[in-house]
Amino acid sequence: MARVSLAGIKKTYGSTEVIKGVDIDIADGEFVVFVGPSGCGKSTLLRMIAGLEDISGGTLTIGDRVVNDLPPKDRSIAMVFQSYAIFPHMTVRENLAFGLTIAKAPKAEKEAKVAEAARILQMEHLLDRRPSQLSGGQRQRVAIGRAIVRHPGVFLFDEPLSNLDAALRVDMRMELAKLHADLGATMIYVTHDQVEAMTLADKIVVLNAGVVQQVGSPLELYHKPANLFVAGFIGSPKMNFLKARVDAVDATGVKLSSPDIGSLVLPKPGVDARVGDELTLGVRPHHLAAGPGADLHGKVVLVERLGNETLTVIGTPSGQQIVAALPGDIDITPGADVGLVPQAAKASLFLPSGLAA
């Protein structure tokens, strides 16, 4: 078990800086998810922790050792790859025992550790098969098993579920959560899928363009996004953004107005804005309700019925499209006029700089 600390971590290729000084503290036993769009540097950051990429600047500590210049095997880490990276010519048993074979461990130790990993992952019956005889989910399980056999202080997962189909992904997600609970090990998990991030993480690190945008618990990120990027990235469907002008500010809240929403009072104390400022109002689709007394009017453009809810795309008079998650059985058809009431208490407000007000 180990804590991990990244202090001012940088990665440059030539003159291009791809990781621009990252500071993250990960407690022992914590499940941390790095999430961000593709190209944001999350995988690079993970590979730097693993030792597969050099660290250009900053200090990486695992346990209480600075590991910047240690080879991967001495960092007390194990890694699970998106493409599984299990050896095709070896049986499952040989794959699981690979690290021990490399370290020339005694046979009895090998057998005991392989048996333990197989038991944890419930794949005793697969031990003598070859990877070509396994399904995608089973292969990923072998890769995780190989990591377990190493008894690492830190597990690193690089988009481990991306190659699996949707149903299997949900199953494996739950298994990973259970595995974390059973092993109690520190885990760092990279994904571009914010659902995986929300469901698995104790702590989410949102990255964009090599910079940490926000670190926090899933609900913190959901309810109090630090900036426009995090607000747009976390939550599905995406948060709606509307331009609004400040009509009045006082200690208890802000009064906003715009052609689309008419006028709205946000009970947000201490907003640093002046009358006349153009701000961005963020409202999640689930915080919009259809009903009388609506401030927000528009025409229904598209209706997606999911059963438990109906995702409705609405075109506002100003030409913007807004998504609302309405009840599953709502009687609504494209072309109809609809009025929406935002839950002002749950709305977010962003300054022109993009930061949350």
Binding site: G51, F81, F98
Partner: protein, 371 residues
């Protein structure tokens, strides 16, 4: 929507798409190559098999006759003859001036000896001593036997050395270094040059007086290394040709190895690195197993190419000196066109075909995927 398979219209459509249309296009695509292979490879081979049972000559006034297996017997006929040393009247061993026991002349057995009709026309291939007696291995065609042995020596040396060297080169150039393409080009260059040109150049390198190799060895050893006529000496000629042949084609096999190396997923190497593999362990557990199929291909290709050894011999030594560089294909050409004995040349081709086919099948069987 699925059509009723028994509906005539449905059947017609599937038949048309599956068998006639796609197949016709397939044959059209394969047609030109299939035609050329049939005319220039299959047909001549069938001719060769047929001619090997006749006494056909390139130009001859006599009609062609069927001779059965006589050509094969002429090429492959072997005999064992053990002779006791000559003794004088007292029963003592007769010895020559050097003190070695004397044996009756072989001629007495192989020429006009009605007691030994099976040895008629044979010559000594080699002999060995057993106690006082001496056993002679006789061959009806000693030159062909030497050609077979030389060819096998060539294959047995070239196949592993060339494949191994090519693998080492491939591993070296499979790195991301600045200018690595220059090295790839340099190693590959001899492959692009015609083997005849390469052979001519190497004749200068191997020259006995002022050849590059002799000069180089002389300079490196400060003149201590004696000058060797590499191609003119029966004990070095085959070795010289082997070395040159390995050098010439190693680049080709390097490229095949390289393509095999590049199909191995980089994440496997990363996984091995995380487990702490040494360089040797990475090769042993990741690289080599990943190259299995490539290795089988390379082994079979080199073996087949090595058996076909001809151009180097033709340009560099012409089979000499003292038949020390005779090879099977060289003999086939020499006999078929040099001596105008088409049936003999055909027979050699068929024998070579059988040898190469058996070895390839054996290699396939030995390297099969074991489950």
């Amino acid at each position: 929507m699925r059509r009723d398979p028994m509906h005539p219209r449905a059947r017609e459509v599937t038949m048309a798409s599956k068998f006639t249309r796609s197949n016709r296009i397939g044959w059209l695509m394969a047609g030109p190559a299939a035609f050329l292979i049939a005319v220039f490879v299959v047909l001549p081979f069938i001719f060769a098999v047929g001619l090997s049972f006749t006494n056909q000559r390139l130009i001859s006034p006599n009609p062609t006759q069927f001779v059965g297996l006589a050509n094969y017997e002429q090429l492959l006929g072997l005999g064992l003859l053990t002779l006791e040393p000559e003794r004088d009247a007292a029963g003592q061993l007769a010895r020559d001036d050097a003190g070695a026991p004397k044996y009756p002349a072989l001629r007495g057995y192989t020429r006009n000896n009605p007691d030994y009709p099976q040895f008629a026309g044979m010559r000594e291939w080699f002999s060995f001593q057993q106690g006082d007696s001496r056993t002679y291995v006789l061959a009806r065609d000693v030159v062909f036997m030497k050609a077979i042995v030389n060819t096998f020596v060539f294959v047995l040396v070239v196949a592993p050395v060339q494949a191994g060297l090519a693998l080492v080169l491939a591993l070296l150039i499979n790195q991301r270094l600045r200018g690595i393409n220059l090295f790839r080009a340099i190693y590959f260059m001899p492959v692009v040059v015609s083997i005849v040109v390469v052979s001519l150049l190497w004749r200068f390198i191997y020259d006995g007086n002022s050849g590059l190799l002799n000069n180089l060895l002389g300079a490196l050893s400060f003149g201590a290394f004696p000058k060797v006529d590499w191609l003119g000496n029966p004990s070095t000629a085959l070795g010289a040709i082997i070395a040159m042949s390995i050098w010439q084609a190693v680049g080709f096999h390097m490229v095949i190895w390289l393509s095999g190396l590049q199909t191995i997923s980089p994440t496997l190497y990363e996984a091995a690195a995380i487990e702490g593999s040494s360089r040797w362990q990475v090769f042993r557990y990741v690289t080599w197993p990943g190259l299995r199929n490539t290795a089988v291909l390379i082994l079979i290709v080199i073996t087949m190419q090595a058996f076909a050894l001809f151009s180097q011999i033709d340009v560099m030594t012409g089979g000499g000196p003292l038949d020390s560089t005779q090879t099977v294909v060289f003999q086939a050409v020499e006999r078929g066109y040099g001596k105008q004995d088409i049936s003999g040349g055909s027979t050699i081709s068929v024998i070579l075909f059988v040898i190469v086919l058996s070895i390839s099948l054996l290699q396939r069987w030995l390297t099969r995927e074991k489950n």
